[in-house]
Assembly symmetry: C2
Homo-oligomer: 230 residues x 2
DNA sequence: ACTCGGCTACTCTAAGTCGAGTACTTTGGT
DNA sequence: ACCAAAGTACTCGACTTAGAGTAGCCGAGT
């Protein structure tokens, strides 16, 4: 379904901006800054110019004029094409209607969490929790300050980001609580693995110990203590 | 703080894997598949080999031997270095302790939502909601099926992903509800903009109309109906 | 009158990323 | 004994991206 080249949402943003009026790239970036969209759409100059060029190659935008002002660099003004309008609608439709799997860094980090000793992990999660709470307060203050001055229609994305933040905050809070009270079912397993590792146990032997003490094929397969294949 | 080259979490994953035992790249990918980590860590071959090479250049891993088995391609076995172990701990620590701002595609899409007419937007959001509900059911079924067979310690990242999904689901559900019942404060504004646009009003004139009817500097600045600078 | 920082408007390069392609091998069925 | 399908272990090239660099311009202070 998705044509190749629907990687960077910045390209979609460019198409949307050009739907309003013709612009040169730097003007696009200024407009996005002005509208506070840099919080929800990642923008940097390198990408912007590359993305516009690639849209041009694909015939979705076209250069209409280049203006030179004194000895400043040229500004190339772009306009959207018919094909560009179609692609814009199609892409935006797809992004709204169909969830895509993404890979937040923290999710990756959590999947590597057993690598750290449990006490260290708890410490770090507590630090994160503190930062998350601060950010939450800041965001809520911002919302209150904005209230009334800007139609909610243009704040939907910020409300979404806030909802995700709250979810993360509550998740980490719960996890920290469980760890602190020793409720996480496998705290014993976790501690044991690190004790053995600190004592210099080799991976293969670790596998044996852990399997004996806790049983279960799954534990062996998932602690990275399985023998190398072959 | 963060050394350049802490972009792809796959590199961190490689370091973690090599902490357990030496491996060749393909074996890393097989191990990650076996442990179901491909759901939380984006993996593809091209990146994997590139990432290992870059770690080698930075002195964080080293090639220990290359084995040839019949006429198959060579396998180069890598081991982690002292510097690699340090970098691994430091990086993982940083990822857990410090939240980083990320840019989900849906957040970008939401910030462009006013581009679509409100009825169309509602339709698309309803489609998304349906898909999200299905995914939610599937995930919950998976958790029930897994229950007991795998220590919760190794499912934390999946629980996190699930928490984020629920948050998105509830957000979209609420948004859909508000739109359906016409409660979103600015529905009138939203409809008016698209009415005028359909009628062929030019951006500059649109600005005038909208400002007259709804007032407020903010509306003008944010609907993309401001005059081009200069 | 001068200069200093900040804005405008890009440009360049090194690095990273993706996904298809390749070329062998093993396994399982008939 | 033979074939197809799945698995192993990479390789390649085209495309993206990040972020620093640059060069002129403009206004505010000293």
């Amino acid at each position: 379904m998705a044509p190749r080249g629907r990687t960077n949402p910045l390209a979609l943003t460019v198409l949307v901006l050009l739907t309003e009026r013709r612009m040169h790239p730097y003007e696009m970036s200024a407009t996005l800054r002005e509208r506070r969209k840099e919080d929800s759409i990642k923008l940097n100059y390198g990408s912007l110019y590359a993305v516009v060029e690639s849209l041009q190659k694909r015939g979705l935008v076209e250069a209409t004029e280049t203006v030179r002002d004194g000895k400043r660099p040229e500004r190339t003004v772009y306009a959207i094409t018919e094909a560009g309008s179609e692609e814009m609608l199609d892409w935006l439709t797809d992004l709204i209607a169909n969830p895509v799997k993404e890979y937040p860094q923290f999710e990756a980090a959590l999947s590597l969490l057993p690598t750290l000793p449990p006490d260290r992990a708890l410490e770090l999660l507590e630090t994160r929790l503190k930062t998350l709470r601060e950010t939450d307060r800041t965001i809520e203050a911002n919302f209150r300050a904005m209230d009334g001055t800007m139609p909610r229609l243009f704040l939907v994305e910020a409300e979404f980001a806030h909802a995700l933040l709250r979810a993360e905050l509550e998740f980490v809070d719960k996890l920290v609580g469980e760890l602190r009270r020793g409720e996480l079912v496998d705290l014993r397993l976790w501690r044991r693995i690190h004790e053995l590792r600190r004592a210099g146990t080799m991976p293969e032997d670790l596998a044996t110990f852990v399997t004996e003490e806790f049983g279960g094929e799954e534990v062996r397969r998932l602690t990275g203590t399985n023998e190398p294949p072959q």
